[in-house]
């Protein structure tokens, strides 16, 4: 059994599965909507408690463009590189973060910081690829990104919801994500223009019965085509079609109007805040991996003004998200991550900006499997280099997977080649794990 699997095939879980699907079906009444009225049964039914105990989810807050570690998790007040902002004490003794993150400072007991990433790639494209997949590109292998890995390891075969949802609304640096050699089955449902998936509704000109019949016909033809053929592509293609009705039913999960006004007000009016609320709705409904990209932190000019804006957005949205997950009993099963492709330079340029920097920067992990309040690694007094506990992208990935209960050294077999989930030689950072 997949350790993170929602439905392992046991009798008990089979009941749960039927219960879940029934709950979704109850709400159809002429539509496919698995809306939150039904999915909120997760909060009330006995089987939901069991689900919550075993399910692991991930929300990646992707800080696209590269947020400054100085203005977030690794402040250096009073140093020539430190900028104008103070460091403030957090709820974790001895750990200080930037004054631009006061709400997260008060919630540091849910969060661990890694301050010693040295990922060596300060290019947007290369850095993004590295931090999405946890390893450098290999011409011979198309690696899946973290979302696809988690979709495979945490998702379930017959999921009624998407396994991997990626929201990236800004256009700068937009990247769709990749399922690599895992195939289209684990590719993200990618939302860029709207916060609700496009083209998932059944055409009004087709009845539900017609739709099911067409799917059955397609399935029959696909199976015939697949006879005597061994192709991952065919299998992946078929899998994708088999999940169509579930994906169609997920539309309302993206509709925050389904939430009470007070809840929407908590998350606030910014798009990022609203997307964090969508992320919570998705993980609550069973989506294993949600990526919310907040672009664009690439503050070559006016770094402090940019971070004054964007950190306020991040601090508020992340704090509310953690509170909400905690209130719903989901935080211990949900890992919330923040990082992007790299950090920013210690040097402050003439436009009062900071440039790309991958030699000594920070990431955060909150919730599931995390030792809250921990702070791992250290940079030198001016933040130019890692002084203690250097960590690679692979180490970060190994840590994330371990926090989720997934063996980072587990191997996929690609042809005859074993491919570990996290990069060769990577090690989880035990100091930030619960």
């Amino acid at each position: 059994m997949n350790p993170g699997s929602f439905f392992c095939g046991s009798a008990d879980h089979g009941v749960n599965r039927r219960g879940f699907l029934s709950a979704a079906a109850l709400g159809t009444a002429g539509t496919f909507a698995a809306d939150m009225t039904q999915l909120d049964l997760l909060r009330h039914s006995a089987w939901a408690d069991d689900v919550k105990k075993k399910e692991k989810r991930v929300i990646l807050l992707w800080l696209a463009g590269g947020a400054s570690q100085f203005e977030t998790w690794d402040p250096k007040p009073g140093r020539p590189t430190g900028g104008p902002f103070r460091a403030i004490q957090t709820a974790s003794s001895g750990v200080q973060i930037s004054e631009l993150m006061p709400k997260m400072a008060a919630r540091m007991q849910t969060t661990a910081i890694i301050r010693s990433l040295n990922t060596k790639n300060g290019d947007h494209g290369g850095g993004s690829s590295l931090m999405e997949t946890g390893r450098r590109k290999d011409p011979g292998i198309d690696y899946p990104d973290l979302g696809a890995l988690c979709a495979k390891e945490l998702g379930r075969i017959d999921s009624a919801v998407p396994d991997y949802v990626s929201l990236y609304s800004s256009t700068e640096g937009r990247r769709k994500g990749t399922s690599g050699f895992l195939g289209a089955r684990y590719a993200p449902m990618f939302l860029s223009e709207n916060m609700v998936p496009e083209n998932v509704r059944r055409l009004e000109t087709i009845s539900d019965i017609d739709h099911q019949d067409r799917a059955a016909l397609r399935d029959l033809l696909a199976k015939r085509f697949a006879q005597n053929r061994t192709s991952d592509v065919i299998g992946s293609h078929t899998n994708a079609y088999q999940r169509v009705r579930g994906l169609m039913a997920s539309e309302k999960l993206f509709d925050i109007e389904q939430e009470p006004e007070a809840m929407r007000a908590k998350y606030g009016p910014t798009q990022f805040g609203q997307q964090c609320l969508i992320a919570r709705r998705l993980v609550e409904a069973g989506v294993p991996f949600v990526k919310v990209a907040r672009a664009w932190w690439d503050s070559h000019g006016q770094n402090f003004e940019t971070h004054r804006e964007l950190c306020a957005d991040l601090d508020h949205s992340m704090a509310v998200l953690l509170d909400d997950l905690k209130d719903r009993g989901l935080l211990e099963h949900t890992l919330v991550l923040t990082f992007g492709e790299f950090g920013r330079t210690p040097q402050i340029n003439p436009s009062l900006g900071r440039d790309h920097f991958a030699s000594a920067w920070s990431a955060s992990l909150s919730g599931c499997g995390v030792k809250g309040g921990a702070c791992y690694g250290k940079t030198d007094p001016d933040g130019h280099t890692v002084a203690e506990g250097e960590a690679s992208a692979g180490d970060l990935f190994a840590t994330i997977l371990t926090a989720l209960g997934i063996d980072p050294h587990k191997e996929y077999t690609l042809g005859a080649r074993p491919v570990p989930l996290s990069d060769f030689g990577s090690k989880p950072i035990k100091e930030v794990l619960a």
Partner: protein
């Protein structure tokens, strides 16, 4: 009478600094500059000395970038900082006299009234506060600036200046809103809008840049110059032309729009000449500039690059020498008319 000729602009001296200088005030009739720095300190620097060296002030100072400094009495300087504090300093001893917790958030700029009796401070708490320069007592506070931008992000209150007659104070914020206040009553008497100075990118990068970084009244107090940068395409950089808009503020009308045809970035500071015929502006992006423009026509009289992004400058009494401070440098520019005589000149209208 001035002895200046903007067409004669040339940089005469340049000094390196280990830090970024954000603000400057000049001791009258001297080359003694008092500047605030990124190392949280206040320095004195005699720019006309043979081998000038920055000399740090002593005692308990600021805890963040020093972003405003004014002289309000023969021997008193007042500095403001991102730490929210105002500190009164004895210039001769270079020691603090008084520290006041002035604002809840970062102080962006200070200005001093022409009579030296009142100091104005502006901060990201969006308040403008007036202070008795002698006692440190707060006289009044006012704000017409919203704490959040229309796009739900924190706003900033960057700029403040007094009118040359001391009757009015102007304040300018991130989204291009300017309020003009009566100094004595604190009553708001006018507003003007310069929204072009604020760029909101709703799609590519989803944040903003810009804002009003400089304000200056004309010598007759009738015009108000508002400085910053224009609409930016790629807000990762200060890539739009430096921009000044001049308003007949009592009529609420923009009368001139000066878009720098050579230099990009922010207008960080500008000052009208005593005759009101030209305005000098300075600032920059990764580089810097000093530009002179005719107020009536808006045409460029002369301009040249500065060796650094300029954050502020001070003019001498004759209004023919400009002491600029900025990114790791101090530079002196002269623009003296041929045959200029040692001057008994009127003071510049604003060195805020």
């Amino acid at each position: 009478m001035t002895t200046s000729d903007p067409t004669k602009l040339k940089m005469t001296k340049e000094f390196g600094l280990p830090t970024i200088a954000f603000c400057v005030a000049r001791v009258p009739n001297s080359g003694r500059l008092i500047f605030g720095s990124s190392d949280f300190k206040l320095y004195e620097f005699d720019a006309l000395a043979e081998k000038p060296q920055p000399v740090a002030f002593n005692g308990e100072g600021h805890q963040s970038y020093v972003t405003g400094v004014v002289l309000c009495a023969p021997n008193i300087a007042v500095s403001g900082s991102y730490d929210g504090k105002l500190i009164w300093w004895d210039l001769e001893k270079r020691e603090p006299i008084r520290t006041v917790s002035a604002h809840e958030l970062w102080i962006r700029r200070l200005a001093v009234s022409p009579d030296g009796k009142t100091i104005a401070s502006v901060s990201d708490d969006m308040q403008c506060k007036l202070w008795n320069a002698e006692t440190g007592e707060m006289l009044r506070q006012f704000s017409d600036h919203k704490p959040m931008t229309p796009h739900d992000f924190p706003s900033m209150l960057y700029a403040v200046t007094f009118s040359p007659d001391g009757k009015f104070v102007a304040t300018g914020d991130k989204v291009g809103h300017v309020a003009i206040w009566e100094t004595n009553s604190g009553a708001k008497v006018a507003t003007v809008e310069a929204p072009t100075l604020y760029t909101w990118d709703p799609r590519q990068r989803r944040h903003s840049i810009g804002g009003i970084r400089s304000l200056a009244f004309s010598p007759d107090s009738k015009l108000l110059a508002v400085g910053g940068t224009g609409q930016i395409g790629n807000i990762d950089h200060l890539e739009a032309s430096a921009r000044t808009e001049i308003f007949d503020w009592q009529a609420g009308q923009r009368v001139k729009e000066i878009v720098n045809d050579k230099f990009k970035g922010l207008v960080e500071h500008h000052v009208f000449d005593p005759s009101g015929q030209w305005i000098v502006s300075s600032g920059g992006d990764n580089g810097g500039f000093v530009s002179f423009h005719n107020v009536e026509t808006g045409k460029t009289l002369h301009q040249d690059k500065a060796p650094m992004h300029v954050h502020q400058f001070a003019l001498n009494e004759a209004c023919d020498t400009l002491f600029a401070v900025g990114h790791h440098k101090i530079a002196i520019f002269e623009f003296k008319a041929e045959a200029a005589k040692p001057a008994e000149a009127a003071p510049a209208t604003s060195t805020n």
